[in-house]
Amino acid sequence: MTLNYRNIALFAGMALLLVLEGASAKNAVFSGSWDTSLGILNVGLISAVLALGVNIQWGYAGLFNAGVVGFVAIGGLAPVLVAMPANPGAFSAGGMGIVAAFAAAVATVWAAVLVNRRASFQVRLIAIPVILIGGFLVYRAFFGPASSAIEAVNTAAAGNLGGLGLPVVLAWPVGALFAAGAAWVVGKTALGLRSDYLAIATLGIGEIIVSVLRNEEWLARGVLNVNGIPRPWPVPREIDLQSSADFVARAASVGLDPVSASTLTVKLLYSALFLIVLLILIWLTQKALASPWGRMMRAIRDNETAAAAMGKHITRRHLQVFILGSAVCGLAGAMMITLDGQMTPGSYNPLRYTFLIWVMVIVGGSGNNWGSVLGAMLIWYLYTKAESWGPQLMAFVTSGMADGSVIKAHLMASAEQMRLLTMGLILLLVLRFSPRGLIPEK
């Protein structure tokens, strides 16, 4: 970001919104609660990480990934597998079966790829389906019993593999790795496709990943959700703070009641953690963008034909940024699950985790890391606030109407729908009047 007055003013404006949200008296616009304000900030910071990931793919390389939700979800798996306590007996019940099943799956795909490369057309026509179906049956033979065995262990409370019981912060890079692994597979298969085809292929892949998470109970309990994911160091639990005499005394000494002090402390610690991650990422992405690597990526985005003729390996570079961007999305997914304290696969919905993130990147200014951060903070702020603004606006609009009028009742009943409508309107307005976003790429 060039440090010009405009950009500084934009960030200052964003900060002012959050401060007003916390410090003003409660009114129609602001809630006047620091908890709300910091809550928005925290999710905003995670959204900023997510937006950076999408910006790496779209802004740096022009890759339209419509399956962001899948990579967020797969990153969210990491805290479960890393930080939750183990489910005793689950691994011995079916762990090896699962490993064998995946070995069979990998061997099948490998064999199919090999045959596809080496054999003649007639051989391929018969051999590939045979290999795929045969391999699938072998996979099922291992997988079915193993997964049911795991699901049978302590079904009511767990029924899944459980985790390693490690600190949850470790899960963040692991989440990034999970997403990177998935992105490698996806990229290898789908990156050859052109624009709209890539968009819809990734849309589908995102849905597939989410549906796997929803339905494989042995992995993360599927729709039964995993609760109680431990908090990261150094974030304490509010009730522990409230019961600590020391903390209560210190809170009183700064004139705070213990409840607000504890909730604010926890939120501030989260903010600090997320801010550190975000700043590291921004440093890395900014340095990358300003390096010869960034120059090469811009060249590829500008003109693929010429970049290829100048010796740049387009597919490999696309794969690289696709993996990098997805890894950042996975990291954000893991952070999100940590903040929520639970993994709920049912919550991965493309409107929220793909399209809303897109709105953030576009509004902020695609190609510009600082823009993505600003866009994420702003859109998340508006998305959260629209929840209360919508009904208030409707109440205002209908205030002139008679109580009990059908139209008033109808409008009030639809007030909550203002939320998505507002997002759409913002996206369209920005695309139209400021197509390069609030902080354009230079």
Partner: protein
């Protein structure tokens, strides 16, 4: 007899439902593909356009019903359809004027249009809910069945029933009529021909004196008609709920892409490929197999490739496999 039972079971649970669903997807995919062919972008708002069209059709249907108008045994909604189409056409033409035309004039990157359509999707989403609310609405009247499962059983003496709903028949007949009309329009009329020319080669079409704005307007009107018809048929066959139409967008896209974007024949084929694969890959063939093999061979467990939880994934897996071997779809669609 057992062989007949097996056939009837297959017809009843796979072929008939998959055909009706396929026809609905095909009509939706035709709209998507048409817009792609002429306007060169994937319209993410198509699902919500369908929802809007259906919502208006339902409102008019209610109006007609309260006036006592009926075309029994056919559902009243068919009578309301033209109103729904008109309203939807007005809406999409307005949207085009307010949103898309700007980017078209600027010759923006297609992906910008895709994003704009995401914005339009969010807004139409809201508008539809403002108009009709979020509830599940059943609006089919008229006769429900052409063949009823129970009656079929008693009439034929077979163990398996066969059901054919009137909405399924209406869906298939309407789909055939609409597709015929569309191909007649594209193939025989002057406007249709100029649309095809425009789709094949925009520059050449412009040189030969085709008015692009007219072509675009006609495309939107047809797309609105297709969307409304597909949405209404779908709502008649199942029920109307605004939320479902966004979900419907995904299989419709899969259908349009499998067939090849921009290719009308491909969209129709794609619709049926997706619907049949969703039903067949997750179909438990135990019942059918049980009729065909001697009694003690009947398997205990289900004979299905994937459980139904994954049926949604199936359509996309097929989409991806098709794209791997044919990067622009079965019928070789366009790529921008």
């Amino acid at each position: 007899m057992d062989f007949l039972n097996a056939i009837v079971a297959l017809l009843n649970f796979v072929i008939i439902p998959a055909s009706a669903y396929g026809a609905q997807l095909a009509l939706g995919a035709l709209g998507v593909t048409l817009i792609y062919g002429i306007l060169r972008f994937s319209n993410f708002a198509h699902g919500d356009t369908m929802a809007f069209g259906t919502a208006i059709t339902i409102l008019v249907t209610w109006g007609l019903q309260s006036l006592g108008v009926s075309i029994s045994p056919l559902p009243t909604a068919l009578l309301a359809l033209p109103f729904g189409i008109a309203a939807t056409a007005a809406l999409v033409l307005g949207t085009d004027r307010a949103v898309y035309r700007f980017y078209r004039k600027k010759k923006s990157d297609p992906i910008i249009l895709v994003m704009a359509s995401v914005g339009v999707m969010f807004i139409m989403n809201g508008i539809t809910r403002f108009v009709i609310g979020v509830r599940d609405i059943q609006f089919d009247d008229g006769v429900r069945f052409v063949i009823n499962a129970r009656e079929f059983r008693t009439a034929t003496g077979l163990a398996e029933g066969l059901a054919l709903r009137s909405t399924q028949v209406i869906t298939l007949v309407t789909a055939v009529l609409v597709v015929w009309a569309l191909f007649w329009f594209l193939g025989r009329t002057r406007t249709g021909k100029s649309m095809r020319a425009f789709s094949d080669n925009e520059d050449l079409a412009l040189l030969s004196g085709i008015n692009p704005e007219r072509v675009v307007a006609v495309t939107w009107i047809i797309a609105a008609a297709l969307a409304t018809i597909a949405g209404t048929l779908f709502g008649l066959d199942k029920s109307f709920k605004a939320f479902n139409y966004f979900q419907l967008l995904l299989p419709i896209f899969a259908a349009a892409i499998v067939g090849g974007l921009g290719n009308p024949l491909g969209a129709i084929a794609g619709g049926f490929v997706i619907s049949f694969s969703e039903v067949a890959v997750t179909f438990d063939f135990r019942k059918v197999v049980a009729y065909l093999v001697p009694g003690d061979w009947t398997p205990d467990g289900p004979i299905q490739l994937l459980s139904t939880e994954y049926k949604f994934a199936v359509s996309f897996a097929i989409l991806i496999i098709v794209l791997l071997f044919r990067p622009t779809g079965i019928f070789r669609g366009k790529s921008s």
